[in-house]
């Protein structure tokens, strides 16, 4: 039963005060839910495995969460405009490989060049989407294949090692701030900037408007095409940052190695962090918690001592349960 408010202001809905209370509760959960879930999970692990915190468990989780977080933030921007980017994890891998190859010859210029390139890759996705008006799922499924192949070809289907100048990026991983590797801190900073961008700039509001009602946004003179390209470009950019964290951590990159399976965890992290899959709702700060939660699961199951064969099973169950809990549901919305 939806409330209808007549022109004279009287509300014809029995559950008006009850509805208001539910709405407030829903908003609170939307804001704080992911935090509660993460603390709960962390507490469970800490109780079952007290040694976890002592032996640097937090650091391990944060290091593992960093690339997931960055890719998830990029995905959150795209989900926010109502689309999806299935190719950004592949861009991460490609970016990492390119960085590994270019660090030697280009030193400090290498990260900059790679970041420009990955942003361009993302922009191409956005450009195709905005100008040909094709569904993003199918489009990025296609570009995913292209980027994957590019990774294989460029790397010659082997692992690419950084030959020289590793020091340009490795401090990101080796330096720690309050026990958290800089890679993770980088993710947090990016999340904070993303939050401010979405809430306090016209472009950010415009993106959210596209996600909530694109037709309404178009007729309100929101520059939808430019913003769509921007969202995908940002997704590419953050994928590139994620690639940097991989090089910082491993010193090498391959199409099959570290970071090659970030897509699904990153999407899950964005959604656990409260991002709506239909668009118009996201909170980058909560995506931080989403990434931590998703990163925590495999580490926690190993630490607790769950048998290796059962880890996938646990991972799947946890994802479903956590999302089922954190999802904000509107009573009348259609879930697809």
């Amino acid at each position: 039963m939806t409330a209808t408010i007549s022109d004279t202001g009287s509300v014809t809905n029995t559950k008006s005060t009850e509805g208001n209370r539910l709405r407030v509760a829903g908003k609170l959960w939307q804001a704080g839910g992911p935090l509660v879930i993460f603390i709960a999970m962390f507490a469970v692990v800490a109780i079952l495995t007290p040694a976890f915190i002592g032996s640097g468990g937090i650091t391990i989780v944060a290091a593992s969460a960093a690339p997931i977080l960055l890719v998830a933030l990029g995905q959150a921007f795209v989900l926010n405009i109502g689309s999806i980017d299935l190719s950004n994890a592949a861009i991460t891998v490609l970016g990492a490989i390119l960085l590994a190859m270019l660090l030697g010859p280009l030193a400090i210029a290498a990260p900059i060049v790679v970041l420009v390139l990955v942003t361009l890759f993302g922009a191409v996705n956005g450009f195709l989407l905005a100008y040909t008006q094709v569904p993003s799922f199918a489009l990025t499924l296609g570009t995913l294949g292209i980027f994957k192949a590019a990774s294989l070809v460029v790397s010659g289907a082997t692992t690419v090692y950084v030959s020289q100048n590793k020091e340009v990026v490795s401090p990101l991983y080796t330096t720690q701030l309050a026990g958290l590797p800089l890679t993770f801190v980088l993710g947090v900073v990016v999340a904070a900037i993303a939050y401010l961008f979405l809430r306090f700039t016209r472009a950010g509001m415009g993106m959210t408007a596209i996600g909530k009602n694109e037709s309404g946004a178009i007729f309100s003179a929101v520059r939808t095409r430019a913003l769509k390209i921007t969202a995908f470009a940002l997704s590419g950019f953050m994928a590139g940052l994620a690639g940097m964290t991989i090089i910082a951590q491993a010193g090498s990159a391959s199409a099959m190695g570290l970071g090659s399976d970030l897509l699904l965890p990153a999407i899950a992290a964005a959604i656990v962090g409260g991002t709506s899959i239909s668009g118009g709702v996201t909170n980058p700060l909560n995506v931080i918690l989403g990434a931590l939660t998703i990163a925590l699961v495999p580490i926690a199951t190993a630490a607790i001592g769950v048998a290796a064969e059962a880890q996938n099973l646990v991972y799947g169950v946890v994802i479903i349960v956590v999302v089922a809990l954190t999802l904000t549901r509107s009573r009348t919305a259609i879930v697809k």
């Binding site: 008006q133 799922f137 199918a138 292209i146 059962a310 799947g316 999302v323 697809k336």
Partner: protein, 350 residues
């Protein structure tokens, strides 16, 4: 009954009816040919590809290779039937590979295999399929009852299914099927076509009939078009959705069993890679991801197209590294071509 301006309304009725009737006839004519454009274009593309690949490698156009192509197309087609049904209601099923793994491993362990298992006869079919249906039902129930988007539920079930496969597989050696008749059945040629393909073809026709002639199928189409209207019409939404996911699970399970038979054994990874073949095939075939439009014959065309493509690329000597690029590029081109005529300033595509 007091129409205040009789002359006005009478004149209107006469003139307007004529104009509107005329428009009706134009619509009727246009309607007859609408909707047949896309599949024809795809079949045309297939023909073009066949010609190109035959030129690149004469071995492509042999009967043997044709049977090979149909064999390769069988499993994606079977999975595609379930996927089409799910996509018709606007959802998605990512759990395909996990369910395949679970059913496949279950099938091996229940058949005569190198680890010492016995041939349990029909149970080797029934139990894995029940498992697959149960996984599908779980997906469907979580999706409808807890209202978790299908993307997430089936993503989780992918891991769950894969996890079950991993647990069943255990830590022993790779189990091989010891009964050769079983192993060779899928690829065996009966009446000119591989058995596996017969299964796929028969199931395809069956699904097409179900969608066209049963209430279940019609309600699925209605739900995909506008779920809200369907709900307010009192249609059995929840029941139908769960059933659809069960059917999708069954098809994945069946594919897992057949794949295992063909491989002569299995690991929990038997399903790897099928998702990214099936979904593009459905999309290229013309079933809309938003739901309500498409069908199993279109998916069949999409599957055939992609299989011909992959087969041809291999025979033409293209390195495996490039294959995903070519499939990806074809997918992009296909959807751009399909969307191009409908472009407009106000068109919304997500």
């Amino acid at each position: 009954m007091a129409p205040t301006q009789t002359s006005e309304s009478a004149a209107n009725v006469k003139v307007d009816t004529a104009a509107i009737r005329a428009r009706e006839q134009v619509t009727a004519r246009r309607v007859m040919f609408a909707g047949s454009g896309e599949p024809l274009a795809l079949i045309g593309a297939m023909v073009v590809l066949i010609v190109i690949f035959s030129i690149l490698n004469p071995r492509f156009a042999t009967i043997e290779n044709l049977q090979n192509v149909l064999n390769q197309a069988s499993l994606p087609l079977i999975i595609g039937l379930g996927a089409t049904l799910v996509i018709l209601i606007g959802s998605i099923d990512l759990s395909v590979e996990g369910v395949m793994g679970a059913s496949g491993v279950a099938f091996v362990l229940l058949s005569a295999n190198s680890r010492g298992g016995h041939d349990t006869g029909l149970w080797a079919w029934i139990l894995p399929l029940v498992l697959a249906a149960a996984l599908g039902a779980t997906s469907g129930l979580i999706y409808t009852m807890l209202r978790v988007p299908s993307f997430i539920v089936t993503l989780g079930m992918w891991f769950v299914g894969f996890g079950i496969a991993t647990i069943l597989y255990g830590t022993d050696a790779y189990p091989e099927l010891t009964d050769d008749t079983v192993t060779l059945w899928v690829a065996k040629i009966t009446l000119g076509l591989p058995n596996g393909f017969w299964v796929a073809a028969i199931l395809t026709v069956l699904m097409a009939l179900v969608i066209r002639f049963t209430r279940f199928g019609r309600v699925a189409l209605a739900m995909g078009n506008n779920e809200e209207i369907a709900r307010s019409n009192g249609m059995p939404i929840v029941r139908n959705k769960v059933f659809i996911f069960i059917v999708a699970g069954l098809f994945s399970g069946l594919a897992g069993i057949l794949a295992t038979m063909q491989m002569g054994g299995t690991s929990n990874h038997i399903g790897d890679g099928y998702l990214f073949i099936t979904i593009p095939a459905v999309v290229i075939g013309g079933t809309s991801l938003g739901g309500g439009k498409g069908g199993v014959f279109r998916t069949a065309i999409g599957v055939l197209l992609l299989t011909i493509l992959n087969n041809g690329l291999v025979l033409a000597g293209v390195s495996p590294s490039y294959q995903s690029a070519v499939s990806g590029a074809i997918l992009v081109v296909a959807i751009v071509a399909a969307a191009w005529p409908q472009r407009g300033r106000l068109r919304i595509a997500k």
